[in-house]
Assembly symmetry: D2
């Protein structure tokens, strides 16, 4: 018994759900869960995620893709079909702050983040012990503002990963890197975007005197801290909280937002659309 | 163009979604949104809510019910079909505290609670001005612990309402009343159930020294504060908060939970199942 | 028995608390609660709020002010002494959206917002019924972007109020108005400042695709939506939420933040310092 | 320059704050922060926490205790004076679930939990690697329901710790153990007390169909899950969440509540009073 996930989007019109569920029925599948969203039933855009199981051992992802292709074409749809058994390969980039890294490795080791981790790459040597303690490869790449070492990062990442997560990686990746890598990159920003972009968001929050701080997980695009937002979490603060307190309190929000966003991503629950996300 | 909502539940098996969406396609409908939930794809129970629009003026609820009946029978399903244009009739019972009443009438008047309100009934005469200011009937029924006046409440409610909301009504309705009324009754309890049932939940919370208080909206059944929970909201408190402070802070949670629960109910998003609720 | 509140701020140094509490002891007072905050014990700025009761009927605010003056001078302090029995006079300005107004009047009528309300002023005639139903004066001033009618607003407010609350008042008050009124003005902005300043913050939030919306209560200063923040509240949202949904959900946050901020203000719990607030 | 913390409680009466702050002034101290709380200014009970610094190297805890004793006696007060430089010794007991342990060790290693950790004791051998990786002693004690091994736990704990934290320790400690240990024991219960005491609180929450789960940190006393509550945190859930999902979501609340409660404890911010806590 295998589980597949279909992500599907097209201009909204009648009969999409019927056509897709009929297809799944005919191949002997059973729909576990299906989510739809339409920006507007009249003339809008339609999004669907279907999770279904097949007991027939004959079918695999390739044969399903072949069979479903013509239906998708009918609707002029963008789509992807995933076999849940094929786990994604997630490369981790991290700078000095290690709380997100610690949390991700914990969740992965506990079987709650169903990914492969080809490596953890850092410009801080000090994480080596933690990472190798989990029997994972650790790459020390001394990237800095003056030399971002992007070709080295790319050569580590390109073939071995399906996506990258910046688990508090403090250097901006260039447009050139994004273009060459050309897969998803997920970043945790320790500010409540669109407020407090860039460096030291907790210091910015302190100076502004806000009463709530937040953190934001988003896809990376060409503009700093501007890609589609996946998840946000907040913490209440007061005048008594120092910059150090904000950092400490903010960690809860960072870890929670990142764990939640990655869990959605790995379950293929996220569809990007016009600089926003649908998160089913 | 009319909008219909189908609520459907049966033992889970293959092809349910396909069969239902095919039916909707064939009658010329367009699915706006569909939600499913299964307690277990293998041998569990399946729940579905489908919202669809029909432009064909010929079809109405009755003809759709006739047409869908055989399909439901195939699956041995429990189901209901609702025409969104037919608004529900919500009777309100309220005792002395008026914040929930004020909020419900505000939301109703603002067009955000799409119900008819046949009456507000209270054992407190003082709400008359507020209620009649909205041109709604107000019934003063001097119910008390010694004389619950249930026959009078029933005679007001039975024919004129589709459901009742107890917007801080402080008397328990008897099993006999529930049996005779035999429709949904929704209660807001100002405690975080299953903690702090019965009278003075804020006082109970204060004595226990909890650091978070809550309120709970639930269907009423034969046991005190025990019916299926629809929504819960919380507020953080501290040792500094007096009983009066808990009452004051709790109001936010009460109003928010009640508005949210009623909004779900009116949109036919709630399915009861084994003393729990599925809220799509 | 009368209750007084002292707000006090000066450069931090030894003995401030001792000096103040000794003063209160000597006049026969009993400290109910005292809060301090120092930006830095070495060379920082010190803030204190003391609430104390006096049973001696002889003392009043004036005599206490005379007696305390020399002590404050010793420390080069800014300070104010308030008699809790002298309730503040709060003028309300409101445009079309009425949910904050409804909430404030409810709280005031319930005795939970211990202020006088000399008037509600609006550029929307439609609130008259609500306001006069509470036996409060209602002033209709047809202010618009082209003619802000500030001299009329000022003539209503200047002598009769101690502070103004903009309970969703949609016109910006000019620097000239602020200068002439020269007392506190508290605004509720329906966006999570510093994000989403100016018009239609919910629309801005929708376009940005944020997963959390918020509202902010702040003092008004010369820059749009830039004064010291008093309170912020948030609500979680998703891709499913329309602009209308954000407006609906945001109301909870707006009402809660405004009620909390005004309650702090009226209890003299707020000290402004360098574009931030200390809220004891 | 040393920092001291005074915790003080007595029947409320005039002049307490003055007397204490005068004492601190006379020994050359500077009050950093002071918090008070009174259950009732007339006839109630008064609590105070004062944090002050002394530059005079002559004074130490013992001499201060001697000097302050007579003042405390005047007021018939219970009190304690702590030297912030003397860090508390926190023994950790843990069973199979390790997320709280991982978080505590992370925070301790990051310098954010200013305690000594004399040992981690577990009835699960598997935590040895994690604990010894931090160069901390690990004691494997195969306690079970049939043999709680309390004498062994006591012999490890009695002399070497100032308090114990049960970081998801699944065996109840007997009254006899509590009596012999006779110091504070802090427990994290993964349920929203007073709901869902005892075993499998997430399963209990699932069966009840609640829409919010929570976790509770409390002092241990003779009754199961009944001691004074220090901190509570919550997470929103829905019908879709399985028992496994509740466990996963609940971990955020558990870790946050425990970190917050221990941080308050270590800073001497908690006073127990009549089965409740004052947490300054």
């Amino acid at each position: 018994m295998r589980k597949f996930i279909l992500l599907f989007q097209c201009h909204d019109r009648k009969g999409i759900v019927a056509r897709i569920s009929d297809f799944i029925l005919k191949i002997g599948g059973n729909i576990i869960t299906a989510d739809q969203y339409s920006t507007d039933p009249a003339g809008g855009y339609f999004f669907m995620r279907v999770e279904f199981i097949l007991d027939d051992g004959q079918q695999n992802r390739q044969s399903l893709v072949l069979a479903f292709g013509p239906i998708a074409q009918e609707f002029g749809a963008s789509w992807n079909l995933y076999d849940q058994a094929e786990t994604l390969r997630m490369g981790i980039l991290v700078s000095e702050p290690d709380h997100c890294l610690v949390d991700l490795l914990y969740l992965w080791n506990a079987g709650e983040l169903k990914v492969q981790i080809p490596f953890v790459l850092s410009n801080c040597e000090k994480h080596r012990k933690l990472v190798t303690g989990y029997n994972l490869p650790f790459y020390y790449v001394p990237a800095s503002k003056d030399n971002r070492q992007e070709s080295q990062i790319l050569s580590h990442s390109l073939a071995s990963t399906d996506f990258l997560v910046l688990a508090r990686y403090m250097l901006v990746l260039s447009s050139d890197f994004l273009h060459k890598y050309n897969k998803d990159i997920i970043n945790i920003h320790h500010g409540f975007l669109p407020s407090f972009k860039g460096v030291d968001p907790y210091g910015q929050a302190l100076n502004k005197g806000v009463k709530v701080i937040g953190s934001t997980v988003h896809f990376v695009d060409n503009q700093l801290d501007e890609g589609p937002i996946i998840a946000q979490e907040v913490e209440y603060v007061s005048h008594k909280d120092s910059r150090q307190d904000l950092i400490r309190k903010g960690r809860h929000a960072e870890k929670k937002a990142l764990a939640q966003a990655l869990s959605s991503y790995i379950d293929y629950r996220i569809i990007k659309h016009e600089n926003k996300t649908i998160v089913f």
